[in-house]
Symmetry: C2
Subunit: 121 residues, 2 copies
DNA sequence: ACAATAACCGAAAAAAGATTCGGTAAGCAT
DNA sequence: ATGCTTACCGAATCTTTTTTCGGTTATTGT
């Protein structure tokens, strides 16, 4: 896992939260696991826009920081399952709230985005 | 304002929310304005870790996407004040929730972070 | 005249983050 | 034996974001 050159201020709660679930796909991964999609390959099929590699990396971080836990059976075909820890579950209400806010205002934001894109051509 | 090469999916609420207040300092800026610190130079003095430039840029984005509004008096010394719109105010509860989550778990996350850093030396 | 300040912008450079690609190991089916 | 899948990792590359730096404009205080 990459170490930053510029130190991060973990006394700010928002920064701590961003560290845990701020990656591009971490929210989606937490959502997928919450829905019972808990094997890496299945998560990859669920989140089609993300590469397998980034899912692996973000799973590793979520695991390291304790949002999910890993249940790997040795043997074959190497069944690995991830599930939310109680810490991971405590994030879900925030994700729901963010998702609700975003869906409520998505049309407005999309409209502004279109304006931006047409201005920059 | 930079235009992305990889298209972003604004049908996902979380992605929309991240677009609005996902930047490194946007949450802090919204918090500052909410506390009545509403002139660029004052925000810069309040958020000492951020460069003046990034505050300008993120103010411009927050303005463009309608979270804040600008009240500039021409004349001098060019008094510009930003204040939250109702859209901007609607973000505050989410910021509070994230901040609370982060502060609740900051010791745990910091401890994991320390472990990571000592392992990587 | 000259320094100081406020707001703001462009562009280069650095840092952080995501993606692509090629590889490992292990077992199953053909 | 060959190809398939699952899980995972390293490294190069590309994209995105942030920072740094050097400007502009206009006004006030000395």
């Amino acid at each position: 896992m990459y170490t930053k050159k510029i130190e991060e201020d973990l006394d700010c709660g928002i920064r701590v939260a961003a560290k845990m679930f701020g990656g591009k796909w971490k929210c989606c991964i937490l959502d997928a696991i919450n829905r019972g999609i808990n094997r890496p390959a299945d998560i990859g099929r669920y989140i089609t826009d993300a590469s397998a590699r980034v899912i692996e990396m973000q799973l590793a971080e979520l695991l390291f920081f304790g949002a999910i836990e890993k249940c790997a059976e040795e043997g074959f075909p190497k069944r690995t399952e991830y599930r939310l820890t109680s810490l991971g579950e405590s994030i879900l209400p925030i994700l729901e709230q963010m998702d609700r806010w975003g869906l409520t205002h998505s049309e407005f934001i999309k409209e502004r985005q279109r304006e931006l894109e047409s201005a920059e051509l």
